[in-house]
């Protein structure tokens, strides 16, 4: 951490996880696609696992974020109002919300 990252988002930004469906080594869990959250932390840039998993070089590196979600926004019947979910999501799966 502490590296200079060309990140599109900064902590506090509201984001929407893209509602895409395609085969491959996708690290964005299905259950948060289409959900709204916020950038909690910018982790840095990492090789893209969607390329690495198939023998690619993973380049260009992609910014990786810790994205926070209210559990009550992710699940229809989640009752504990304050509970939160945090997931590591690569930038190309996020758009401004």
């Amino acid at each position: 951490m502490g590296r200079a990252v060309r990140a599109r988002f900064k902590p506090g930004d509201r984001v929407l996880v893209k509602m895409e469906d395609r085969p491959g080594h996708i690290r964005t869990p299905w259950y948060v696609r289409g959900k709204r959250g916020w950038i909690e932390r910018v982790y840095g840039e990492f090789r893209n696992p969607e390329s690495l998993a198939y023998g690619g070089d993973g380049l260009p590196k992609r910014p990786l974020y810790l994205v926070g979600f209210e559990q009550s926004q992710v699940w229809d019947k989640y009752e504990a109002a304050k509970d939160k979910l945090f997931i590591d999501i690569y930038e190309h799966w996020l758009e401004p919300a």
Binding site: L64, L85, D88
Partner: protein, 213 residues
């Protein structure tokens, strides 16, 4: 394996038949091929087994016990976990990024990898089977309080539960709350209270009395 004699008659009781399953047979065949083609050596295999075995939750327990005993270390651990591990001679450099999640009276963390079995192996060793089960991976995110209850730990309504789904390059370690009544305990005693499951975050550390048990 073919029996040349009938063991059950000879000893008067049944012996289990040690037939290897499909995956075991396959892995042995792959191993034999790799050895035969000189891709790896038996020494490589033994070294890798030793490496896997030496990494255990005892590493994590030492880290947590030091953090409980030494507030300055705890601050360094949270600011730069890998460097803090190195202070204790624990090599976390194989992790891309390593993050420590500190539990408080008001916030409890729990770690899961819903996609596979991402786990801080240099710190905790190999993940337990339940961590890789579909049941845990699916329910940890949508019913973490229910999962914690099943592990024997009901979380109060005023406590915020934060689940971390470690899907990418980050590995997480939960720093559990220091149990009450542990003032004056040595680091070795404290470490006995730090279970693997408490560092995944499904339960708290053991109560003070467990240190002398």
């Amino acid at each position: 394996m073919s029996d040349t004699h009938d063991e059950s008659q000879e000893h008067g009781h049944d012996h289990p038949r040690h037939e290897l399953g499909y995956y075991a047979r396959r892995i042995y065949a792959i191993r034999d091929l790799l050895l035969e083609k000189k891709v790896i050596t038996t020494k490589d295999i033994q070294e890798q087994i030793d490496y896997q075995e030496q990494r255990s939750p005892a590493n994590g327990a030492r880290i947590v016990a030091r953090a409980w005993a030494d507030p300055a270390f705890k601050a360094r651990l949270i600011a730069d976990p890998k460097a803090a591990c190195a202070e204790l001679g624990i090599d976390a450099t194989s992790l891309n990024e390593f993050v420590v999640l500190e539990n408080t009276e008001k916030v409890r963390h729990m770690v899961v990898c819903t996609l596979c079995s991402c786990y801080p192996r240099p710190i905790l060793g190999r993940p337990p089977d339940w961590y890789k089960s579909l049941n845990y991976r699916s329910r940890a995110v949508n019913d973490p309080r229910g999962v914690m209850r099943e592990f024997g730990q009901a979380v109060g309504p005023n406590v915020e539960v934060r689940v971390h789904d470690s899907t990418a390059d980050i590995r997480y370690l939960v720093l559990p709350l220091r149990p009450r009544g542990t003032e004056g305990m040595s680091e070795a005693q404290l470490a006995r209270l730090v279970t693997r499951d408490s560092m995944i975050g499904v339960v708290d550390a053991l109560p003070a009395g467990a240190a002398s048990a």
